[in-house]
């Protein structure tokens, strides 16, 4: 069994999803887009209270890939600019470490962001 990893998430500053750094996670606060687009984004997983990780940028710079609910979804900057997140400070430190560690963090992040705890987040 994998050792349990206790992560306490401290809230960081609010930022647009597009401004996260590679590997950084944040918790979605709100989507400042018209209702229909908001609905659309929420249906594919970008729901307030859920955790998102900035996975990588496309080779040509845009779109960027975000990890939400364990799914990798690419959004263009024009969309990601309007999704506001609260930066997760702790996550940012941990993902800097080596790959094994990163897997642990990811499992934890995914679980918290997914079914396990979306409702518990502040």
């Amino acid at each position: 069994m994998l050792p349990a990893l206790i992560v306490t998430v401290r809230e960081g500053a609010e930022a647009a999803l597009v401004d996260l750094e590679r590997g950084e996670t944040g918790t979605i606060q709100r989507i400042s887009l018209p209702a229909a687009e908001q609905q659309f984004l929420m249906r594919i997983g970008f729901v307030p209270g859920v955790q998102v990780r900035f996975s990588r940028r496309a080779p040509l710079g845009d779109p960027s890939v975000y990890s939400v609910d364990g799914t990798e979804i690419a959004l263009r900057a024009e969309t990601a600019r309007h999704i506001m997140v609260q930066r997760d400070l702790v996550q940012r430190d941990l993902v800097q470490r080596d790959l094994v560690q990163r897997d642990l963090v990811q499992r934890d992040v995914v679980q918290r962001g997914g079914v396990a705890a979306a409702g518990d987040l502040p």
């Binding site: 887009l33 018209p34 229909a36 687009e37 609905q39 659309f40 984004l41 929420m42 249906r43 594919i44 997983g45 729901v47 307030p48 209270g49 859920v50 990588r56 496309a58 080779p59 040509l60 710079g61 845009d62 779109p63 890939v65 609910d69 364990g70 799914t71 990798e72 979804i73 690419a74 959004l75 263009r76 024009e78 969309t79 790959l99 897997d103 990811q106 499992r107 995914v110 679980q111 997914g114 079914v115 396990a116 705890a117 979306a118 409702g119």
Partner: protein, 639 residues
């Protein structure tokens, strides 16, 4: 009654594969005749539908909306059970046509469709938090529902687990772990559907309109059923480090695209040609067995020619779909779309349009069928509408003929680029430019996308299976032969009738005296400004079957065999076409929609005659105006 119905197939850490929840045992049972298959997009619903029906399915259209209706028969013994594949939806709140259709079918309000007796709800177990939201409104409808947690294999492999029995209790519906791609757990479906079902009391589930609220409910359920998210394999991430690398990403992308293109042309074209020869030979072999005269001509020049012109597309179509299937199933297609998006955005399209448009350089038919990966309907239609502007291989015979006949073989840039190559290249560029302009026009007017930002899901990399690709090839091949086949056959027969009537003293008339020649004469005033006479007109008329037909027609008109005396045909053309007229004809062919197969497939894919008609009229207009400008302009210059 709480019982475990099945165990076996694949081992999930959580134990039983099918569990049944609470049901009212006193209600009377009834047999299932119709079952609806519902699930979110990307839940593997279509794969499951194909597996359950073994492709015994009918595709149609729901009345009033352009939503595809797929109905199939459940494979296996017992009484007939119809499966209705509903469009992929995230909720039953009717926001889109898709959701409206789903709700209408499930509530029995859809015209000409009985209310289903049961529901198969497909959810991707690896994305349960997101997909579970759909379970509440579907189960609350009160129909006997079997919840299928798809992708069980990936989920188990990634270390995911959940308590199926607990979930069944939570939902008040039986739950089965399945894998549509591996075909595991599917016996649960048969068992569920062949069983008598009581019209039980609907479970008390919160049907929430508000998504964040529904998600909260889903996460609470997730905790109660001990849901443990699977870990995406580290392999996918490592592969993406290469395939989406700043430098290697685009390099590999170009290599892959180049290899596909090269193979389709390098193998597909000769394959098509060889197949064409084979079909022609078969026709010739059969000739002695048919009484000479009108009947033989009808069978060989009408029917067989029509059948061959459909079949001859098959090698290229299947080859292209083999590659597209390979790219799609492996997961690379999504990465290619991600890389291409930046460039495609310039014309108002998105990255998913790239591969279809590229395929259109071989043949517009598979390209249009490949647009199915574009979820945004407006983007998809825009892509379908511009695909035939790409220089497909059917244009090459007439291009080669006219260029060889009218353009001198002179060097333009040293020895590297001759005038002929230059002309050919400009035709490719011309088609591409008009496609871009058309896309821009469409996307800034009638097909302006509203309220759906571009999103692209990157699935995990997987090894494609022969089985899955084979099934798809069979499906696409069938669709093409059936849909395009019937239309092409009808048009070929019409052209045959027009070429062989009116009878002259009981004999087939010479082409000059046939009905089609009269039609050619009839359109002569319209095409004269383009520099075309009635003979070219006849060629244009017959080439509505397929572009390359014009070469054969002109050959017949000039009484020479194009295969052996192409030089004579080239010379003969000089008597009827000026240089300006020939260039106008080239440009006309670059833009005009002379391909019945494409029109038939567009109708099939857009589910209405509206788009093929719009496309035909638009392309013909563009072709006419462009040819007019070229002919008039060049004529003036030459003077």
């Amino acid at each position: 009654m709480s019982a475990i119905l099945s165990s076996g197939c694949c081992d999930t850490p959580s134990g039983p594969l099918l569990a049944i929840g609470e049901k009212d045992p006193t209600a009377s049972g009834r047999e299932i005749r119709t079952v609806a298959l519902i699930g979110p997009p990307n839940s593997g619903k279509s794969t499951l539908f194909n597996r359950l029906t073994r492709l015994r399915q009918k595709v149609g259209n729901y009345p009033g909306v352009t939503v595809e209706q797929r109905v199939g028969l459940l494979a296996g013994g017992g009484h007939k059970i119809r499966i209705v594949d509903l469009p992929g939806v995230y909720s039953l709140t009717p926001y889109s046509d898709d959701e409206r259709v789903a709700v209408d079918v499930l509530t029995g309000k859809m015209d000409g469709m009985p209310r289903p007796d049961a529901v198969l709800l497909v959810l991707d177990v690896t994305h349960l938090s997101r997909h579970l939201v759909l379970a509440a409104p579907v189960i609350a409808l009160g129909l006997p529902t079997l919840v299928l947690l798809n992708m069980a294999d990936v989920f188990a492999k990634g270390g995911g687990s959940l308590d199926v029995l607990k979930l069944a209790k939570e939902l008040g519906a039986p739950v089965a772990m399945v894998s549509a791609t591996q075909e595991t757990g599917l016996d649960a479906v048969n068992r569920f559907l062949r069983q008598e079902h009581s019209q039980g009391l609907p479970a008390l589930l919160p049907v929430l309109q508000d998504l964040p609220q529904s998600r909260k409910w889903a996460s609470q359920v997730g905790r109660r059923i001990d849901y443990r998210q699977h870990l995406p394999s580290a392999w996918s991430r490592r592969l993406d480090d290469v395939f989406l690398h700043k430098i290697w990403g685009p390099v590999i992308f170009l290599l892959v695209v180049g290899a596909v293109f090269q193979t389709v042309f390098g193998i597909g074209q000769p394959m098509s040609n060889a197949f064409q020869d084979l079909l022609t030979k078969l026709g010739q072999q059969a000739a002695p067995f048919i009484p000479a005269g009108l009947l033989r001509s009808l069978v060989l020049d009408g029917l067989w020619k029509g059948v061959s012109s459909v079949l001859v597309f098959l090698p290229q179509i299947l080859l292209l779909f083999f590659f597209i299937g390979l790219l799609e199933d492996s997961g690379y297609l999504a990465r290619a779309a991600l890389i291409a998006d930046r460039t495609m955005r310039g014309v108002g399209l998105n990255g998913k349009a790239f591969i279809p448009l590229l395929s259109a350089y071989a043949c517009a038919v598979p390209a249009i069928m490949a647009t199915r990966t574009i979820e945004n309907k407006r983007d998809r239609i825009a892509t379908i509408l511009i695909a035939p502007f790409m220089t497909c291989s059917a244009r090459l015979p007439i291009y080669t003929l006219l260029i060889a006949a009218f353009i001198p073989d002179r060097p333009v840039i040293g020895v590297f680029l001759g005038a002929r190559a230059c002309a050919m290249l400009s035709l490719y560029v011309l088609g591409f430019l008009v496609a871009i302009v058309t896309a821009k026009l469409l996307k800034s007017s009638v097909l302006k996308s509203a309220a759906s930002p571009f999103v692209l899901e990157l699935p995990e990399y997987r090894t494609p299976t022969w089985h899955s690709i084979g099934l798809r090839l069979l499906d696409r091949g069938k669709v093409f032969v059936r849909q395009a086949g019937t239309v092409i056959l009808a048009v070929s027969l019409l052209v045959w009738v027009l070429t062989n009537l009116p009878l002259h003293n009981g004999r087939v008339p010479l082409l000059e005296h046939s009905a089609i020649a009269y039609l050619g004469h009839g359109i002569e005033p319209v095409i004269r400004p383009l520099g075309f006479n009635w003979k070219i007109g006849v060629g244009l008329l017959t080439s509505v079957i397929a572009r390359e037909v014009i070469v054969g027609t002109l050959g017949t008109i000039y009484g020479v065999d194009p295969a052996t005396h192409s030089l004579t045909l080239q010379n003969a053309l000089h008597q009827d076409l000026t240089f300006a007229g020939a260039m106008a004809l080239l440009v006309f062919f670059a833009f005009a929609m002379q391909c019945t197969s494409t029109l038939a497939v567009v109708r099939r894919e857009t589910n209405s005659w509206k788009w093929p008609v719009v496309q035909f009229v638009y392309m013909t207009m563009v072709a006419y105006v462009a040819a007019l400008v070229v002919n008039q302009g060049l004529s003036m210059l030459v003077k």
